[in-house]
Symmetry: C2
Subunit: 150 residues, 2 copies
Amino acid sequence: MSDLLRFEDFHVGRKFDCGPYHVTKEEIVEFAAEFDPQPHHLDEEAAKSSMLGGLAASGWHVCAIAMRMLADTLILKIANRGGVGSREGRWMKPVRPGDTLRMEIEVVEARASNSRPDVGFVTFDCRIYNAREQVALVSMTPIIGKRSAP
Amino acid sequence: MSDLLRFEDFHVGRKFDCGPYHVTKEEIVEFAAEFDPQPHHLDEEAAKSSMLGGLAASGWHVCAIAMRMLADTLILKIANRGGVGSREGRWMKPVRPGDTLRMEIEVVEARASNSRPDVGFVTFDCRIYNAREQVALVSMTPIIGKRSAP
């Protein structure tokens, strides 16, 4: 387990690349049916006349996809103990069926725990792009084990 | 459509109750397998030795459940045009198999759009409780149509 990335490895400014992740119409509709059953996430015809201008993934689906990209690329290589939350989620552009997403992670904060000497909190800003532009920003703050616990 | 709740109806401090939502082990594992495949969300035995002390839902799953509770109770009664994001997500306590959740929404900000005279941005703080205590806070900012568009 000693080759896992630990708290000390996450200095502010360090970047990681994640993805690609291919988004299908089927999963957009499936997620929406389970968690966000609004017409612009469920139905192509209804979506055309919506502000989104066509079928688009739920913002919470985009957050879940960000977690999946993090998981596939990085999280199982980290001494990760859980997460405390997300300090920001910005859904900037629609995520469409057929989009291939990639994600750039940047460490924006790293803070040792006051109450638990063996862990620290690292905040990642995760910028998600389709082929043309940035579509979302999802912040995450995992709790990460230290290399040298006292 | 005139009986939909509109931007003008969401004054700061107004509250709404959502739920209940019953969380099953099956859906915790299913969500985790798709989006957040970490041992403490997937496997009961592995979870016991984790910081969470037992199987618990992914934080992103809790966010998706919050959206579902909002959808079931309120969103289809709102002139909702989409969402711009979440300014905060706090995963405070584990959400366990068998938990029955409820959610209290409070309007914490309502701001007319500068660029689009027909809509405004309303920020909801959604406090999620199990039978004993608050387990999460999920903020959401839907874009809501105005009653009297110019």
